[in-house]
């Protein structure tokens, strides 16, 4: 029996307004699915996603693993004869997806719209200024110094405050993600056609496989137009992980071993964090450079994309600046940088489930699902083996 369908006109308009403006140009030639090296042979993407989006078939897209299996290499966009930019459209669908699945959908709308940028920034600024006001630290020239007069951020903003605020944020983000992933998974199972992909193997095995693939960045290797993508994403990815580990280690040292920061530059963990920062900068720099260089072929990207890239970069830059100014003994600059660093970290964590940051979770979920349901791997990949 044929399925009765009802297009959601608003969903179409939302995709168009969130970076998928070229959506309706698609005339279904399927060049995109042919050139895509990540697309599996059975029910390939992004051709079908394009018409589902044109027809506003929201439910199908919300339960579609393929919108996350797409890594936006932009080969499809480069080869599209009609200028429909499937890569960008799928990006916009992912944006809609994040808004749809996150626990607080209104935040998703705010994060993906430039008109809320200031409001979103003001929230962490006010909270952190409130803490400083409570501590009496609003005068940046009068912050107490440590031994030998060195700058110690602890006196500016004691770690306990940072930990309370940020642990709460991480938990909020985690909760949002769990809700989102559970909803997505249910929808995935619902949309799965039993005939084409019976679940098999253990879910743990699928998760391990997906994580391994992510750590090795295997799929990025196949990108054609955006060749630099693998290395830039890899650097950003590991840079970010390195910094997260460094931060976590510092917390453990302080509260586990009672060692007071700042730690000397000779500390191996400082090497790791500084090296990670460099990796992050280089990676992000490459991403920005490539995006600008290839904008005519691959599309410039949406506000949603740039929002995430810029926040990540600014977070790194302010963190590095805080360290440099601290070592240079430039008090006001150091405290200001540190303050901004905290603002942007707040931003990163608080809005993670609603920004592009969420791709880390949903893409992983889709990859686990893909492996779990034996969604076929591409022929090209088989040839590589």
């Amino acid at each position: 029996m044929a399925e009765r369908i009802e297009p959601d006109l608003n969903f179409v308009k939302n995709i168009i307004s969130s970076g998928g403006g070229s959506l309706k140009k698609c005339f279904q030639c399927a060049t995109c699915s042919v050139v895509c090296k990540l697309s599996p042979d059975g029910k390939p993407f992004p051709r079908k996603e394009m018409i589902h989006a044109q027809w506003g078939l929201k439910n199908r897209l919300m339960g579609d693993p393929d919108i996350w299996l797409c890594h936006q290499c932009s080969d499809c966009t480069a080869y599209c004869p009609r200028g429909a930019k499937p890569g960008e459209v799928i990006g916009a669908i992912r944006n809609q997806f994040i808004q749809n699945y996150s626990a607080f959908g209104f935040l998703g709308k705010m994060v993906s719209s430039p008109s809320y940028l200031i409001i979103l920034l003001v929230i962490p600024v006010l909270i952190l200024l409130g803490v400083l006001f409570h501590l009496g630290n609003l005068d940046f020239t009068a912050i107490p110094r440590g031994e030998e007069g060195v700058i110690v951020f602890y006196y500016f903003m004691p770690h306990i405050y940072v930990i309370v605020i940020y642990v709460a944020l991480v938990m909020f983000a985690f909760f949002s993600f769990v809700v989102g992933v559970v909803r997505y998974w249910k929808e995935l199972l619902k949309n799965r056609k039993e005939v084409e992909s019976p679940p098999s193997g253990s879910i743990v095995g699928s998760i391990v496989g997906a994580v391994k693939e992510i750590l090795l960045h295997k799929r990025f290797k196949k990108c054609g137009v955006e060749r630099g993508r693998k290395i830039s994403h890899l650097l950003t990815f590991y840079g970010f992980i390195g910094l997260a580990i460094g931060t976590a280690w510092a917390t453990v040292k302080k509260y586990g071993f009672g060692m007071m920061p700042p730690f000397p530059l000779s500390d191996p963990m400082q090497w790791l964090t500084n090296a990670s920062s460099v990796a992050l900068f280089v990676g992000l720099g490459m991403i920005i450079f490539n995006r600008l260089k290839d904008k005519s072929k691959a599309g410039i990207g949406s506000y949603f994309d740039w929002f995430f890239i810029v926040i990540l970069a600014v977070t790194g830059v302010t963190g590095m600046a805080a360290q440099v100014f601290r070592l240079a003994d430039m008090g006001v600059s150091a405290y200001t940088s540190y303050f901004l660093h905290l603002v942007f970290i707040f931003y990163l964590f608080a809005y993670a489930p609603f920004s592009k940051f969420a791709h880390m979770v949903y893409r992983t979920a889709a990859m686990v699902f893909e492996s779990h349901t034996l969604r076929k791997i591409p022929l090209a990949a088989q040839a590589d083996k």
Binding site: A2, E3, R4, I5, E6, P7, L9, V12, K13, I16, K24, K25, F27, Q28, K43, K48, I51, H52, Q54, W55, G56, L57
Partner: protein, 734 residues
């Protein structure tokens, strides 16, 4: 007039070095040609002067140029003499055969001999000039094609009578709410152009308009038609020189498309009805008069469908896109679905397609519409298979629009075959559909012979606007499915054709494809047996009959194909410069070498329109082919008289090959049915061959086209090989 023949042999272009010119001269001298000369610069100014000198000084009035193909330098050799004949020594002999060769030389000598014989049998044609020619054009149909043809003809200085069946001019286009874009950026709807054109035609003093009128009768022939028009019970007669048929189309009967629910469900309407609704203001559901909130368009409804119209009507895709825009402009919350087989938006319409596609409320998919069902509130559910969505889908809508096609007016009537011809016969000379449109006083019937799907066009690629009635040109969608700009272009072309026809007729010249030919058929009536073969077989219906079945030949209807010459069993039809006797003599005078010389002889009767140019092209490409053939160009292979075949075979010719155009559904014959007739006649020649105790395979017809030139050597070799199997013609030497 005493004929004085001069033979001029050109020795340039390798002719002089490849052939023995002295021998050629001797051939001519032996045939008592008074002037035989050679020149190495015949097509240059000096060469022309050289011939002109003889014309002036020696009184040469029949010039034979033995040089290049008649298809080249024809303007150079357009000398002011009554008779000119060309002997093709270059492309036909030395460029396609080895030089200094006995067989090549024999070929050249035969061609010179045949050229002289032809000239000896030829008389200068006298053009039938029409002094009182009517420089007025009858335009049938007052839609876009008719109006454009009328305007164009009037602008060129010709009077026009425009006859329209309806009360108002404009046809279907006048009923449009808006028209699809014709101007950059090709994305916006426009006010129908036809409104302005109607005013133009009404204000033009050269154009006389007859509305609410029909043509009761058209008698006569191009240049001198007598037209009778009936308007509201009164008749009026006038003269006309040529006719443009722009009678247009009518919508296909949607009630026949039963599987899509038209007539069964009130909310299933046609694209034509959308236009009416839009003109009235709002597109509403017929069931309750409420505005439609979701509308599905079903493209190709009863089109590209063997059970209905097998063709594409060329306009419905763009029209449905336009209708989608009507609806979306009316209410931006309405969802419009378009289910298509293929979205056909050629040329600039692609911009319009893109613009409509870009509207978020227009949902397009390819798919096969399986059926429509009705739900409560007279809502409809459309079921679509093989959609691009990925599976079979159902869509619920308020209103369904069927994009139905159009049928040419010329197809609306009862089909009638000529007497004695049955459906399914191998050869059907013409199909007459009695549509009460032109009511011609022609022996073959009152309308234009219907070709594919009831369209009257003779060959839409090679000769657009031409029909199988000389002087009557079809334009617009009555000739082929087309949109408005194409119909206007068409009408302009047809008007020009009509003007050409009048002017050529006034000078006594033929129209396409033998434009400028002043010859005409002469009937030796004393010997006529009233067998009606000429009147039935003339592809252009040029010959009427009197009460006693005598043929009544009309020179301005005639295209000079000479198919009648091939038809006549009494051989009473001839042209001054083309006759049974002329070709017969050429055939009989081909030198036949003795059997033991093993030099077979084959006559190739080649159509001058396609086959002969193909043979020429083979020469131009220096493709060598057998020297045992003798090629005789014909006006049409349909003019082959069986007498020639009998003459040739009884003389010892080993085989006869007819090279003609492709016939059948996608025929390319310039004379419409000539090549098919030739094949049919050949099938009947077997009897004669049996009587002569000859294999019927010695006579063969092969269909070819100019693009097949590279196949010519192979075609000839294959035929010779077949003849080899039969052995030499036993009549050799008799």
């Amino acid at each position: 007039m005493e004929k004085k023949i001069g033979v001029y042999i050109c020795t340039d272009c390798e002719i002089g070095s490849a052939l023995d010119i002295d021998q050629l001269r001797k051939v001519a001298k032996k045939m008592k040609v008074p002037v035989v000369k050679e020149n190495s610069l015949l097509c240059m100014k000096e060469g022309i002067e050289f011939i002109k000198n003889d014309i002036d000084q020696e009184g040469v009035n029949a010039v034979i140029i033995a040089a290049c193909s008649p298809r080249v330098n024809y303007d150079t050799f357009n000398l002011d003499v009554p008779l000119i004949e060309r002997v093709n020594l270059r492309e036909g002999v030395i460029w396609s055969h080895p030089p200094d060769d006995e067989d090549t030389q024999m070929m050249a000598e035969d061609y010179v001999r045949m050229g002289i014989l032809k000239m000896q049998k030829m008389e200068a044609p006298e053009p039938h000039k029409i002094e009182d020619i009517v420089r007025s054009i009858l335009v049938v149909g007052g839609g876009i094609a008719g109006i454009t043809a009328a305007n164009e003809a009037a602008m060129a200085g010709y009077d026009v009578s425009l006859v329209e069946r309806d009360e108002l001019l404009g046809g279907w286009l006048a009923k449009l709410h808006k028209q699809a874009p014709t101007k950059p950026p090709y994305t916006d709807l426009e006010e129908p152009l036809i409104k302005g054109l109607i005013k133009e035609v009404q204000q033009n003093s050269r154009i006389k308009i007859y509305t609410s009128s029909k043509i009761e009768k058209i008698e006569g022939a191009p240049g001198l038609y007598d037209v009778t028009v009936r308007t509201n019970g009164t008749t009026e007669s006038f003269k006309s020189g040529a006719i443009v048929l722009g009678a247009g189309v009518v919508p296909y009967d949607a009630t026949k498309i039963t599987h899509l629910g038209f007539g069964q469900y009130p909310n299933v309407i046609t694209n034509y009805m959308v236009e009416e609704l839009a003109s009235k203001g709002q597109i509403m559901r017929p069931s309750d008069g409420k505005p439609a909130k979701s509308v599905a368009f079903i493209q190709c409804a009863g089109q590209r469908d063997e059970e209905h119209l097998p063709y594409c009507s060329a306009t419905c895709c763009v029209e449905s896109l336009k209708h989608a825009k009507y609806i979306r402009n009316q209410d931006p919350s309405v969802k419009v679905y378009i289910f298509y087989k293929d979205m056909r938006t050629p040329g600039h319409y692609e911009h319009f397609y893109k613009a409509i596609q870009n509207d978020p409320g227009v949902f397009l998919t390819k798919g096969d519409v399986k059926g429509i069902t009705e739900e409560e509130d007279k809502n409809l559910v459309v079921e679509v298979e093989n959609s691009l969505i990925g599976e079979d889908i159902q869509v619920g809508v308020d209103l369904v629009v069927l994009a139905i096609g159009a049928v040419p007016v010329t197809a609306l009537g009862e089909e009638k075959l000529p007497p004695g011809v049955n459906p399914g016969d191998a050869f059907i000379p013409y199909v007459m559909i009695e549509t009460d449109t032109l009511n011609l006083d022609y022996r073959q019937g009152g309308e234009l012979p219907a070709l594919s799907k009831g369209y009257p066009d003779s060959n839409f690629i090679c000769f657009p606007y031409e029909t199988r009635r000389t002087g009557i040109y079809a334009a617009g969608p009555v000739r082929s499915p087309m949109d408005m700009p194409s119909a206007m272009e068409d009408a302009t072309g047809a008007a020009l054709k009509a003007i050409q026809c009048i002017e050529l007729a006034s000078r006594g010249e033929a129209v396409h494809p033998r434009a400028g030919d002043t010859s005409s058929a002469d009937f030796f009536m004393q010997k006529c047996t009233q067998c009606k073969r000429c009147t039935e077989e003339c592809p252009f219906g040029a010959i009427n009959e009197d009460e006693k079945s005598n043929p009544l030949y009309s020179v301005t209807r005639c295209r000079r194909c000479a198919v009648c010459l091939g038809a006549c069993p009494e051989r009473i039809i001839s042209f001054k410069n083309y006759s049974v006797d002329m070709i017969g003599t050429m055939v009989k005078k081909i030198e036949i070498p003795d059997e033991d010389e093993e030099k077979p002889r084959v006559i190739v009767f080649a159509c001058e329109n396609d086959a002969y140019p193909a043979i020429d092209l083979a020469g131009l490409h220096r493709l060598n082919y057998t020297p045992f053939v003798r090629v005789i160009p014909l006006r049409c292979v349909g003019s082959v008289n069986l007498a020639w075949i009998a003459d040739a075979l009884s003389k010892g010719i080993d085989g006869i090959l007819l090279l003609g155009c492709q016939h059948g559904e996608d025929y390319q014959c310039h004379m419409a049915t000539g090549s098919h007739l030739a094949e049919i006649r050949l099938s009947k020649v077997a009897e004669t061959l049996d009587r002569l105790k000859l294999e019927s395979g010695r006579v063969q017809m092969t269909q070819t086209s100019i693009a097949d030139y590279y196949k010519i050597p192979q075609i000839l070799d294959d035929f010779l090989e077949k003849l080899d199997g039969f052995g030499p013609n036993p009549y050799k030497g008799f």
